[in-house]
């Protein structure tokens, strides 16, 4: 069995764990009226805030940005849920197994991607017409695909943060919240990226959501195909880069844990 096939199998079995966690966290009712309701309210709030503050021309881009952001917010939950392995006491057992840690952790929190893409799809497709954005039937698959790309790319970035907080589990929620709030601020969601100084623009340039929002904005405006697929390709490349970084980070984490003794049995 090739290493790739073996890794994909591990991702698949790990994803079952993710599904079990999701089923234990939500019922259909609490997900629909609790989680989705909360996220739709957030999208409406930020879009209307743009209008109230006297920037009605930005309402469209704010809506797109905040709707796409809902899948990123959820994807970033991978930061916190990666730490669950420590809570379950399975981390040393995972390190002691012959499997790579990265595929395990990649599969372990996939529930957030599925839920996030569903949430942002509802936001874009159901709320869009209220803010003057109508989608054609042909555009709908592209809408979903772009969100999937953005969610996966952001998830890979979140995996790298997840490795970092494995050694500081108490920071798990702070890290994920700070990360997505920074994205909302710097990546063209609430204000254009150009508003920020160069160092922050540089940070935004390596985060997949920046390009995901650009691609979705171009798609909603019926722009040329190149204006959609070029930023979409950037999301894909950045996501792959962050995934590669996560592979390295998990190996470094395991080796560091072996050196400093931070992998306790039962933790």
């Amino acid at each position: 069995m090739s290493a790739l096939v073996q890794s994909l199998r591990v991702v698949g079995y790990s994803a079952r764990n993710a599904a079990a966690d999701f089923a234990a966290t939500y019922t259909w009712r609490s997900w629909t009226f609790g989680w989705v309701g909360r996220m739709l309210s957030q999208v409406v709030f930020f879009t209307l805030a743009g209008r109230v503050l006297g920037a009605p021309d930005q309402a469209r881009s704010r809506f797109i940005g905040n709707a796409v952001m809902t899948c990123v917010v959820e994807a970033m939950m991978v930061v916190a849920s990666s730490v669950w392995e420590r809570r379950a006491g399975t981390l040393p057992l995972l390190v002691a197994s012959p499997a790579d840690l990265a595929p395990v952790f990649f599969g372990r929190s996939l529930q957030w991607i599925a839920s996030g893409v569903a949430t942002s799809s509802i936001a874009l497709l159901a709320l869009g017409p209220l803010f003057g954005i109508d989608w054609t039937a042909v555009q709908i698959p592209a809408v979903v695909l772009l969100q999937l790309l953005t969610a996966v790319g952001s998830y890979c970035f979140g995996l790298v943060l997840g490795v970092l907080v494995l050694n500081a589990p108490q920071l798990r929620n702070i890290a994920s919240n700070v990360a997505y709030l920074a994205m909302m601020s710097f990546c063209g969601i609430q204000v254009p990226v150009d508003y920020w100084p160069a160092p922050i623009r540089l940070l935004a340039a390596v985060l997949p959501v920046t390009y995901g929002v650009r691609a979705m904005t171009a798609l909603s405006a019926g722009g040329p195909a190149g204006a959609v697929w070029r930023p979409a390709a950037a999301v894909l490349l950045l996501g792959a880069g962050w995934l590669a970084a996560a592979f390295v980070a998990f190996r470094v984490f395991a080796e560091r844990g072996r050196r400093d003794g931070s992998l306790e049995f039962g933790q």
Partner: protein, 321 residues
Amino acid sequence: MTAVEAVALRRTYDLGRGRGGGQREVVALHALDFRVDEGTVHGLLGPNGAGKTTLCKILATVLLPTSGGVRVFGNDVVSRTRQVRQSVGVVFGGERGLYSRLTARQNLHYWCALYGLPRRALLARTEMLLARVGLSERSDEKVDGFSRGMKQRLHLARGLVGDPRLLLLDEPTTGMDPVAARDFRLLVAELRAEGRTILLTTHDMAEAEAVCDRVTLIDGGRALATEHPRALGALVSRNERIEFDSPTADALPGLPALPGVVAVTTLSPGRYRVETTATEATKAVIGLLLDRGATSLTTTRPGLEEVYLKLIGNRGMEVGR
């Protein structure tokens, strides 16, 4: 063949800088020499902080030695980590280490996948292990609802998914009720009969005596003694012992004067112990005691608990460093 061989194994933990600015560290294993023969059940006994779990973690490849060498079936744990991981299974006691929202079957499927089992083998191994630990009937229930004993059985099954030649059991019966603990020991005996090597850390002397071929007493990161559990008694006393009941003490007069008798002690009201230096003396004492109507005669050697207390000392609640 040697399953485990540690030579001058040392592991320290960095505690950061002290008030004087110097680096502080605690020594968990102190130039430990240690060996486990293949196909045996080897017990590791010692107080909290003795270094038992540190040794298990090094063998499980989740901790690196600071210096010295450790080989598992000839593979160095540092340079041939992958080979070591393929040959070692880890089971520790307690509630954690399982996915509580998955069923027992899903847990085993998951771990089998991590050990690279192809689908057909994965399914077969899972069913075999569930049957082996007696969880087939409950295999589709979430682990969340399992009792501690059931979780420990599942822990053992999980430790066996990779078909390991060496099984590390780190205080596996912690919190188990006596029946579950007995069943667990029977399973350990079965695994030994299959030719697997088992390294068992425990505080339970009866457990060590019941299942171990050899026992190493460890304290302060050093091995104090390694022997068969019964032979360890000789480290405390080479004398034979006869214990008996004599409610009215009629059997006692003249016993201390018999040739070869070195001590007569009262264990409890009406219960006594005679220590002799040779088998001939033991025979003579038994004959005399039977003539005098003593009952409940037993011949004993110092138990593991006595050896443990003698060599390691009675520290009460103190934790070693």
